[in-house]
Amino acid sequence: MSKLNLTRRGVLQTGVVAGAGLTLPTYLRAESHAGFTNAPTGDTVTLGFNVPQSGPYADEGADELRAYELAVEHLNGGGDGGLLNTFSSKALQGNGILGKKVEYVTGDTQTKSDAARASARSMIEKDGAVMITGGSSSGVAVAVQALCQEAGVIFMAGLTHSNDTTGKDKKANGFRHFFNSYMSGAALAPILAANYGNDRKAYHLTADYNWGYTTEEAVRTSTEALGWETVATVLTPLTQTDFSSYITPILQSDADVLVLNHYGGNMVNSLTNAVQFGLRDRMVNGKQFEIVVPLYSRLMAKGAGANVKGIFGSTNWHWSLQDEGSKAFVKSFGTKYGFPPSQAAHTCYVQALLYADAVERGGSFNPCAVGEALKDFEFDGMGNGPTLYRGEDHQCFKDVLVVKGKENPTSEFDLLEIVEITPVSQVTYDASIFGGELGACNPGA
């Protein structure tokens, strides 16, 4: 009667129990006796990798998925062990998590919050996933994070750059390794001032949605603090493909820097258009006109081709970093897939490892134990130098890379070069400035 060979949630009602449950007017929480949602009971544990597989971010999602598969391989003791060897915490043994073999399910977020939540719910409800991770936009991250909070599982955010994810929409069950708009602004401004001078007039084109607003705000305040003047900020629709009508007014303004607060397809198109209109060859106020892209992604830079050359931006991580962690990761990933990993792949891989490590250290898959273990956790060897998982907002604090489009790329992956590694102290901020309420961890029981 108690043959409990369920790969899915470890809940083992027999017919008898269920019969009782049905006759009672009250309902029985499946997970109640285990103490938290989807507590793994067999010798495996299931993680949910929720990434965009269709839509404009599908390639980024594919790279995230590759990283997750690699992480699972390493966690289960396969491959060369990757970052397990360089990670400062040595809790992980390569024998799965808490001795349980890691299995995973995948889903398609379609970069839509509804689809992402449907996919995550199916992982939680059907496949018994105890942790959800992934994603390539802040809308999705915030939506799925709220879901995980409600369902009582851990959410390890993938690529999400908006301040909101660990700001006004933060949740106790959600954690972000990726950096955010504020950090981009703080890291970029000094470099821009150093390279272009303190007397600049900036013109912002901003994607008309939350991430755009926060990024514009961050870059604007940090550059203005160094003496720049903001000539204008113009909002552009998310669905815009041809930015010409937003770029020609710049020709008439006396701005000498253009900041493109765009990501993904928007960024590729607006940058391409800006270069087309000869902005980079312009001289204004006796200065060379410059373009800045606050958030760079190598995959997207590829889409813009030669247009990225010499353009400053920030990024979470880049494969050309020479610390031990980065080198180990590039080697593992590159050997397995034949090309270097993207920053999305890196953050996802690291998130998977950090989760596993927290479980090991906390001694339980219980989200509250995991949260406790990640809270104010300091680690190193993951490619970004010493890093802190801040307890107040579940945001990682680490160095930020300022990069520039490379003038003479040697391959199709070699598009960015690192200009400066901004130390973490420069990008740290007070957790309270973005509002929001973390709440208490929810184990779901």
Partner: protein, 343 residues
């Protein structure tokens, strides 16, 4: 003043893309009476013709360069295009550089072929079916086509630059006596506008001045009668479908340097081009072209800062707002024919 001139230029440029797609859509609708939701996909395939040709031209073999290393620390393998070996580096570079214009020659047969195959293989069976069925089957086809492209080319945009000769901008200011360096416009966008004008003119001339076109126009007006005259109108309509596909495809080819193509660019344009066609009036070719330019220009003006300061968000909705106003004041769009698609 300069701002206005520039926005008119922007509008004309955007409008040429809208007009070209809407023109093809209207050709198909007007001749065959079919609502083709796969038309955006044809535009996209056209763009990928350019990508494909530039890939074909730059097919390479690897040469190991021991002086450099790749990301794993191994000696770097440098791709050397075969055209370098065959024609020398200078000619090879020129060929690669001119891939997009060359793609026109490549795209025409490909697109006509795809169009004809589509009409004979699928659309033909849907002439008598309700418009809803036509929409569903062509929408399904559009998904299939774009997924196939995604399978081979990925989801990211692929940069496809214009030849070096067309980079940079033309300075209207200097040419027409304004301040220099203010009214400048990229050469390639001017090329696109001119190209669109030529294609539109060619389609009109073809329909207006050739016997073939005359028969097709007669068929558009009254298919039965033309058939009664013993003319094989079906074959001509098939060819018209091919031509419409080619128009969409060429619009796509020439668009690639303006924005890097990706697999869902067709869907981005689809809804917009339907709005253009309907605003122009179903079945009216001049209407489609006129509406394309009109909406392009209005969209450009609505994105000016001066306008947005008064009406924030207008740039988000301008096209739809104009569409609503036009359809409410002119029941059949700008130049629509009576009774077309009204049931």
């Amino acid at each position: 003043m300069e701002a206005i001139i520039l926005q008119v230029l922007n509008g004309l440029d955007k409008g040429s893309a809208y007009a070209l797609i809407a023109l093809g859509l209207t050709l198909i609708f007007g001749t065959l009476g079919v609502v083709n939701f796969a038309h955006g996909a044809l535009f996209m395939i056209g763009a990928f013709c350019a990508v494909t040709l530039s890939r074909i031209i730059s097919i390479s073999h690897e040469v190991v360069d021991n002086t450099q290393t790749d990301f794993l620390g191994n000696p770097l393998k440098v791709d050397v295009p075969y055209v370098y070996d065959w024609f020398g580096q200078a000619t090879g570079d020129a060929l690669i550089d001119w891939a997009v214009p060359l793609s026109i020659l490549f795209a025409i047969p490909v697109m006509v072929g795809i169009g004809v195959a589509m009409e004979r293989g699928l659309i033909k069976h849907f002439y008598k079916r309700p418009h809803a069925d036509q929409i569903l089957v062509t929408f399904g086809l559009a998904i299939v086509l774009q997924e196939i492209i995604k399978y081979f080319y990925g989801a990211n945009p692929i940069p496809t630059p214009a030849p070096d000769a067309f980079r940079g901008s033309f300075d209207f200011g200097a040419a027409f006596g304004f301040d220099p360096n203010v009214i400048i416009y990229p050469y390639w966008r001017l090329v696109y506008f001119g190209f669109a004008a030529i294609i539109i003119g060619a389609v009109f001339a073809f329909l207006q001045f050739t016997t073939f076109g005359m028969v097709v126009r007669a068929g558009m007006a009254d298919r039965e009668t033309v058939q009664l005259l013993g003319i094989n109108i079906d074959r001509r309509f098939t060819l018209m479908f091919g031509i419409a596909a080619a128009v969409a495809g060429l619009a796509g080819v020439m668009y690639t340097p303006i924005n890097s193509p990706n697999y869902h660019m067709g869907m981005d344009f689809l809804v917009l081009s339907f709005v253009v066609v309907v605003v122009g009036g179903m079945g009216s070719l001049p209407g489609a072209v006129l509406a394309g330019f009109l909406l392009g220009i209005l969209e450009s003006f609505a994105s000016m800062r001066e306008v947005l300061n008064i009406l924030p968000g207008l740039n988000q909705i301008i096209i739809y707002l104009v569409a609503i106003i036009i359809l409410l004041t002119r029941p059949r769009g700008l130049m629509g024919r009576k009774g077309v698609m009204e049931d």
